[in-house]
Symmetry: C2
Subunit: 359 residues, 2 copies
């Protein structure tokens, strides 16, 4: 392997001491102009590059930004990263990613690595932030939160308009005759999940729709949560059972559909289901296969969210004293095949006990 | 913001000079045992943490590994990252990702950042490596290549068994009566694409199947490449036109299907199409919607590939002198809805000029 030239090589070539070469190349002390130019010429000739670490220690700017994502295998995250990457790469910065799986130890160790290696800033995507991490974050570089805010107003923030999305889903379902709506609530430590839940409760009240305690299921963001909700809600008496259920996200909705079909409910004929996030299915796939099953859900402009987060961070680096900014981006309703008009229910029949192929 | 204690704070608390404190805490020079213990106690009491950068400069081990991925929005990559992450996190290492979009400048700048910040190793996933980058890589830390090898045998390597996958696709198609097979070749600078193409040509020869020049289309990995192939191949006379086309990957296959349907070919009735990589559709989705359209394709054990890559890197760190290792992991054939038995063609009819809904 070719060896990179060292400071000692440069000093030897220029006929000066190592410490003189170091002073000349780092600008950290006086070296006569002629001697400095000789040392620089030798350094260039040898292809010597001052260590980036040494340079960072000197300038306190590393031109790197760290981004924590909650789960790299959840398809909503890569396009957020892509958007941030486009903006930051355009500014000559390198984006370093870390997949945390929401584990506090991994959040902390990546954050520590970024602080110690002096990243210029951090972008945290969908991170549930524990109190102990908040302390660590306050000691670190500027931060932008994406899709989750632990203390509203304390950090720069970009996220989707969850209220708009919930309103659109409720409007779609009520326009199709549904009045008994169920809701599967996401994790309580997720601000996004709380926003969606709060808006659902509020909007149901505004529309004077019934909202018994049994219409709310306390879940998380997993398919298992959707399956458990199906067991709880679909075994209710027919007069109480929701005819449509809004799930906390698409993964929950998928588990709900899976279990509902096992229980004999045809989707969407016997039960309408909505997700959130548009996690499944490429737009290109649905254009080529327009009849493929698709989740009725809410899409986020992920690339735009990533771009906005990067821009907020760049603004913050330029002005560390400005007040925290909050950016809410509009979302879009996606009509899929998991919702349908409420079937006429003259005698409120129990669900068909058939399995399988209904879509 | 809380200020981290500095070396000066520790020195003051212990009543010693800053340089003595530095020697004691870094182990870089002699300090009497009693004094060292006092300094260490004060450092612990204050919560002083030696800079990771200083520690790295001293130990030459940073406990970070860099991973370059070609395109974070291509769903085949996240699970490879996940697998590598599992293994490395288990060893107390932090995995830093970079999305390169295959741009040489971004490959080079991330690699440079990793070299300068002294990553212990690098994992390169599906990177087409330009000659100038090879020089940079040789100066850097140990490297494992995944799914693409620029100089076979020069680096540790993990990749899927492309030959096995091509054999399985050809067997599936010939078992369904197809004999005129077309092939859309991926980019020539991709070793994976070359492996798939070479095997296709060889296997067709072994089976004594016809392989006119018109049955090969020189493409890349994009949907546009599939569309262009459809225009070239499907306008051939019916006696020459392939009845089944193997695409370089799933994105190419999707473009091919899209354009073929525009040209009036029903898929799979008039034309069978196969992809490679299983990029579309979650397994969970297909379990819940068993009748959903699905690509006939070849799946890679992505998580396993990621785990193997991380293990190879750890082996390399333990023994930098061992010969490069090549690991080929088995793939799996996935029966989808884009292939079907060759329709009886007594009079070799021209394709139906209908559009649209055939799946």
């Amino acid at each position: 392997m070719a060896k990179q030239p060292t400071l000692t090589d440069v000093a030897r070539a220029a006929g000066v001491s190592r410490s003189t070469a170091a002073r000349a190349l780092s600008g950290s002390g006086y070296v006569a102009k002629a001697k400095r130019e000789l040392i620089e010429a030798q350094a260039n000739g040898l292809g010597y590059r001052a260590s980036a670490i040494a340079r960072t220690l000197r300038t306190r700017r590393s031109h790197t930004v760290g981004i924590l994502i909650a789960d790299i295998t959840n398809p909503i995250f890569p396009r957020i990263v892509r958007g941030a990457d486009e903006v930051l790469t355009g500014e000559g910065m390198t984006l370093l990613l870390c997949n945390t799986d929401q584990e506090p130890e991994r959040q902390a160790s990546f954050t520590q690595v970024m602080i110690e290696r002096m990243a210029d800033g951090l972008i945290l995507v969908s991170q549930s932030i524990r109190p102990e991490l908040v302390d660590l974050l306050r000691r670190g570089p500027p931060i932008v939160l994406v899709n989750r805010t632990p203390e509203p107003g304390a950090f720069d923030y970009v996220g989707p308009d969850n209220a708009q999305g919930i309103d659109a889903l409720i409007e779609h379902l009520t326009n199709h005759g549904h009045r008994r709506l169920g809701f599967i609530r996401g994790p309580r430590n997720s601000s996004t999940a709380c926003e969606r839940y709060d808006r659902f409760v509020r909007r149901m009240g505004e529309l004077a729709l019934p909202l018994p305690r049994s219409a709310i299921f306390d879940g998380d963001y997993s398919p298992e949560s959707g399956r458990a909700a199906a067991d709880a809600m679909l075994n209710l008496p027919a007069t109480e059972r929701p005819t449509a259920i809004l799930a906390a996200n698409d993964f929950v909705a998928l588990g709900l559909i899976d279990r509902a079909r096992e229980l004999g409910f045809a989707i969407p004929q016997d039960l309408s289901v909505t997700g959130f996030d548009d996690a499944f299915g490429e737009a290109a796939w649905h254009r080529v296969f327009p009849d493929a099953p698709r989740m009725t859900t809410v899409g986020q402009p992920r690339r735009e969210i990533g771009r906005q987060a990067a821009n907020l961070l760049l603004d913050r680096l330029a002005d560390t004293s400005r007040a925290p900014t909050k950016i809410i981006v509009p979302v879009s309703f996606i009509q899929g095949t998991t919702t349908a008009a409420l079937a006429p229910q003259p005698s409120l029949p129990s669900p068909r006990r058939r399995r399988g192929r209904t879509m």
